[in-house]
Symmetry: C2
């Protein structure tokens, strides 16, 4: 399995996802600012992976702090936390992880820096290990929704590269494939940054699954032809009512799946749920740089003089979602109740 994030001897190693699939390069750093930049530039991406990386980044900040007293070290961690918070606004896992780390720091009390560092490292590892376990549980629960002989469609990358484990949507597809249920996987290329063609296709080929790459606009044709039996995507933030923010292009996919009677599933750990938001309208949607649309592979392709509107995410209304697959269980409509039920079914975060 691909290990996107690797914590070794006080250093965080991460695969630079902007270089895939042409080059598989692992960056190894002890500097939390390198992690901040990596999240901002999508070298590290995927809601769960961002959360885990941010947690380890705080450990790096604590270790690098010149202060050997707890208070000074805690101030360095707080500064790093603010920098990490400012990297990307939509995925809630980032904020969930930072809050958990803050609580762990608080529990470490007023002691020396070493105790704080140990507490933070233990918490970051726990966040990572829980994500690995979540991915496994999501895969197992989700595979039960896939009928034998299915072809599935996914968008963007919700695989091992997006998590500390084997992914969310791709964990479902991988688990179903291990059960012999998957005929082939269709992958939207996912403009503008092509996470589908660069990352998801790479993962699926490595998993030995027959993979068909399509442009995002071709998904409608594939759904209409009846060539797809389930759509499975990840999520960046899920509101209390089930409305789901995910990579731009997810919403039209859900509309088309609904039109053609194809079940549309969201796979995400419960850390992606933001119970504080009543609906998707309140989810902040990041806008990306114009160059991500106007240039490809460093080459300007678009005519000069245009403006660009480049939201990174869109919101799929809960009504279009057939199920939300989490590590604690599969939520079905009405989501306000089923999601609240999930929150109560495990240990409170």
């Amino acid at each position: 399995m691909i290990t996107t994030l690797r914590w070794t001897d006080g250093r965080l190693g991460f695969i630079d996802q902007t270089r895939l699939p042409a080059e598989e390069i692992t960056v190894d750093t002890a500097d939390y600012r390198v992690v901040c930049e990596a999240i901002r530039s999508l070298r590290i991406r995927g809601a769960p992976a961002i959360g885990v990386a941010a947690a380890f980044a705080l450990v790096l900040a604590a270790r690098a702090s010149a202060a050997r007293d707890g208070a000074g070290c805690r101030a360095a961690v707080a500064e790093a936390s603010r920098a990490l918070e400012a990297t990307r606004p939509t995925a809630v896992n980032l904020f969930t992880a930072l809050r958990r780390m803050e609580r762990a720091a608080g529990r470490a009390g007023e002691g020396p820096a070493a105790a704080l560092i140990a507490a933070l490292e233990a918490e970051a590892k726990a966040i990572r290990d829980e994500d690995v376990a979540s991915c496994r549980a999501i895969g197992e629960r989700g595979a039960q929704l896939i009928a034998p002989g299915s072809s599935v469609l996914t968008h963007c990358n919700a695989g091992a590269l997006a998590t500390a484990g084997e992914g969310t949507a791709l964990a479902v597809i991988a688990a179903a494939a291990r059960q012999g249920k998957i005929v082939r996987a269709y992958v939207d290329e996912t403009r503008p940054l092509l996470q589908g063609s660069r990352l998801t296709a790479w993962e699926l080929v490595a998993l030995g699954i027959e993979t068909v790459l399509i442009t995002d606009s071709t998904a409608a044709t594939v759904l209409r032809r009846g060539d797809v039996h389930a759509v499975v995507v990840g999520a960046d933030r899920i509101a209390a009512n089930g409305d789901t923010a995910n990579k731009v292009g997810t919403y039209p996919l859900a509309v088309l799946a609904s039109r053609h009677g194809v079940p549309f599933y969201v796979a995400a750990p419960t850390t992606t749920i933001d119970p504080a938001l009543p609906s998707g309208e309140a989810i902040p949607i990041e806008e990306r740089e114009a160059a991500e649309v106007t240039d490809v592979a460093g080459v300007r392709i678009a005519a000069r003089g245009v403006r660009v509107f480049a939201p990174a995410f869109d919101v799929t209304p809960a009504a279009l979602i057939g199920a939300i697959i989490t590590e604690r269980g599969v939520a079905r409509p009405p989501y306000a109740e089923s999601i609240a039920g999930l929150a109560g079914s495990g240990d409170a975060a």
Copy 2:
């Protein structure tokens, strides 16, 4: 105005659209095979432009024929016609133009080659001039459907570059803009070949219209926000019942427009209508090379080991189309009747 195709002294000049917007290069040729290659490689593209270019290509073939007798020259033209027919399967304008040229050749009778060449040249010019006039009429008729203060969305390129005149969908937008009705135009980039960002954006900026470029998947967000008041696209073939083949991505756009109550219009000359086809299911859909999806600007972006499904077009069912704007009038549902009415309203082709 952009002149995509220029006939001068027995030579056809055409803008190489694969080089736009980086370079504006005109290719000048007396060889019909250069025109065949240009159509196949999308140097010349757009259903009406393909028809006009094919007509002139037959004149080139006749002029280049070594035979100075009518029969030999006619054989050369027939051979060229078969080569042109094999270039691209979906746009019906190509076949309509070739059939017209064949009838003109037939009318020229058994005389010397010079008479045949003159007849073919006159017919090709007539096809071109009718397309110019059609574009103008489509623009004027279509502009009446656009309310003042509108923002419009278009897909692919149905502009001057796609026709001999000022376009179909873009003629509507240009005419509405001249009437002061257009606030801004949103343009889908139109993967894989990016005719939206390369060609349509270039034309709209040249027309002085505020232009916002979006990825194809972002159209759903823009429609949902209520930022677009009409969608206007071109067509490659329209069946007798109004089902319309156009660039892949048109069908999902029509579904989304319908969902959000935004009128969806097709603009095309009546030469794009194929009354022989009862419905869109019978329209042959061209599949393009995998490299158009896996590579961008000459750079491999997709993971190795994937298959690609790359239909160039999709079919929008008539039920999603609010109006079909032609040079002879605006057809409204039910299209079986209104389209048949259009065919009867002008001189029979």
